[in-house]
């Protein structure tokens, strides 16, 4: 499999403080990859830098093209899409307008099909299509942010903490949808603190600590790794074996 996204030896700094150090990562076509790690490990910083919101030194290639010199808008045009932690919706505009703007770069006929697809994935959005985005519940806002990103028919969707602050039942819903994206031909790079849920749907995982990747491998292996289990999954294998 060829790498869709290839990040090599990436460094991201806020002034003199390096928040991400020497990170390399790959996402293949049709793959779901997750980056797990504690709060402040640099996960969000890394995603923002891949999108071009923060300056990055190192290499970022996407679909065989060098992204490093490109503006955010050009990376979007190349098929890279980010659902940021704060969602960045157009709060004073309704759901339908938010989705329509998600397809800003796409031909009208294609956008019509995108509407279908997003409304099928998130029937709730269809019910709320005339409601202002700012008045939606947290879960609906997350769905809208994902829907808006999908309207642009991206090749890779980067999700930053999609479960943050949401009720467990909604979280399950969102994760199920992320799993369904693969069938639609969208690769996913998922950043999550909810490691358990993320590892369940991901193919591969990277573990981030203090700005560096300390582990990577197939998600199933990472899930059974002792250190990961102790730090991120909330139990140790000793206690598990006692049960």
């Amino acid at each position: 499999m060829s790498a869709l996204l290839k990040v090599t030896d990436a460094h991201v700094a806020y002034g003199k403080v390096e928040a991400v150090r020497a990170v390399s990562l790959e996402v293949a076509d049709n793959e779901i990859v997750t980056i797990i790690g504690a709060n402040g490990a640099g996960k969000t910083t890394l995603l923002n830098a891949i999108m071009g919101i923060l300056p990055l030194t190192g290499g970022v290639a996407f679909a065989g093209r060098d992204m490093l010199q490109l503006e955010i808008e050009d990376r979007v045009a190349a098929g890279l899409s980010l659902v940021p932690e704060h969602r960045e919706l157009f709060g004073t505009m309704n759901v339908e307008d938010n989705l329509q703007l998600g397809a800003f770069r796409i031909a009208k006929a294609v956008a019509a099909r995108s509407f279908e697809r997003v409304y099928t994935l998130f029937p709730r959005l269809k019910e709320r299509r005339k409601q202002l985005a700012g008045t939606l519940s947290g879960g609906e806002q997350q769905m809208l942010a994902m829907g808006r990103a999908l309207m642009g028919a991206p090749k890779l969707l980067m999700l930053d903490e999609p479960s943050l602050g949401l009720a467990p039942i909604i979280v399950a819903d969102i994760f199920r949808t992320i799993g369904e994206l693969r069938a639609a031909g969208v690769s996913v790079l998922l950043v999550e603190q909810n490691a358990q849920a993320a590892l369940k749907i991901a193919d591969r995982a990277y573990v981030m600590e203090l700005g560096e990747f300390i582990l990577n491998g197939p998600a199933a292996e990472i899930a059974t790794n002792q250190r990961v289990a102790a730090s991120y999954l909330g139990f140790t294998h000793e206690s598990e074996s006692r049960i």
């Binding site: 010199q69 808008e73 979007v76 157009f90 800003f104």
Partner: protein, 346 residues
């Protein structure tokens, strides 16, 4: 005071207020989209009005040359900015917008100037010329500064205002000018005399507000502009270029400014520096609207126009003082309502 005088003053106030409303709306739009407080708005008014007056007098306006000159510099900037990846397509596009467009406008103006052209053609030419200047003003001054703070943008805005005002003096001289009216018709309603010109002011103002409302509510580009104003990062993440939004905003602002100038130059004598004061009154309306609210700005503009009319009747020496004093209670109230002012991060 009798009712007739009062009605006259209200009528006068609303006519001026309609113009201030247009200018105020343009200021709110530009600020929301680009964070620029558009002080050169007044120069758009002057340039529109005096270009129209010059054309009507059968002469060639200097603003047409300015548009070409600004286009050439913009072309250089575009080439320099894209030097790392100069495709033929990019160069062709930059050439078409920066060179062909202003040259075509110049050629059209040259072709029509001096002949007995109908008023509509002169209006269209004036709008085209000022629209091109507005577009290039964004490209030359504000696009390179798009990432800086509101304060830096404001300083650049003051600089652009001074430069354009100086150019206005070069192009149009220190003499005041008047332009021909759009219509000489007039009729009486009770004691009030409505001229064709004042009707044109109302009609065009209303048409523009409705047009803007439709543009922002229904079209994809209008929505993209609103999206940029609501959430700049969100807009970039769906692929809306900040520069595109900025260009559309400046294009609209310059057309609105020029149109306002063309509407008032038959009523008032305009000098090369008159636009600044007119723009400032639109600015007061925009400030009363908090630089965010379109309806509040429009209403405030009518109040500004009316207060101006009454104060010029009762205390004409203090006319400007009274009008600009309106801003003080608003600023005090606003500062009480929102004690913390944060410089946005972006």
């Amino acid at each position: 005071m009798n009712t007739t005088i009062m009605l006259f003053l209200v009528q006068d106030g609303i006519t001026n207020g309609a113009i201030y409303a247009l200018l105020g709306l343009a200021l709110v739009l530009v600020f929301a989209v680009t964070r620029v407080i558009l002080i050169p708005q007044g120069e758009f008014v002057t340039f529109g009005a005096l270009t129209y007056a010059t054309l009507s007098a059968g002469n060639m306006p200097g603003t047409a040359q300015l548009a070409v000159a600004m286009g050439v510099v913009a072309f250089g900037l575009d080439l320099f900015g894209g030097r790392r990846s100069l495709h033929l397509r990019l160069v062709a596009r930059a050439f078409a917008i920066n060179i062909l467009l202003p040259v075509a406008i110049y050629a059209l103006t040259y072709w029509f100037a001096g002949k007995n052209t109908p008023i509509a053609v002169n209006i269209a030419l004036s709008l085209l010329i000022v629209a091109a200047i507005g577009l290039f003003l964004y490209r030359l001054v504000f696009q390179p500064l798009a990432h800086t703070s509101v304060l830096v943008l404001l300083i650049a805005s003051v600089g652009a205002h001074l430069a354009l005002q100086g150019l206005g003096l070069v192009f149009f001289g220190a003499e005041g000018q008047r332009g021909p009216t759009i219509s000489d018709a007039a009729f009486m309603v009770g004691p009030l005399r409505f001229t064709g010109q004042s009707i044109a002011v109302y009609a065009i103002t209303i048409a523009f507000i409705v047009g803007l409302w439709l543009f922002f509510g229904l079209t994809l580009y209008g929505k993209a502009l609103r999206a940029t104003a609501v959430n700049r990062l969100g807009a970039r993440l769906v692929g809306i270029r900040t520069t595109l939004s900025g260009q559309i905003a400046f294009l609209l602002a310059s057309v609105i400014g020029a149109l306002s100038g063309i509407l008032i130059v038959p009523i008032t004598t305009l000098y090369y520096d008159t636009g600044f004061l007119i723009g400032l009154k639109g600015f007061i309306a925009a400030i009363i609207g908090g630089l965010v609210s379109y309806p509040l700005t429009a209403v405030a503009a009518l109040v500004v126009g009316t207060v101006e009319a009454f104060s010029s009747f009762y205390a004409s020496n203090f006319k400007e003082v009274i009008v600009f004093t309106l801003i003080l209670p608003v600023l005090v109230l606003r500062s009480l309502a929102a004690p913390e002012v944060e410089e946005e991060k972006d």
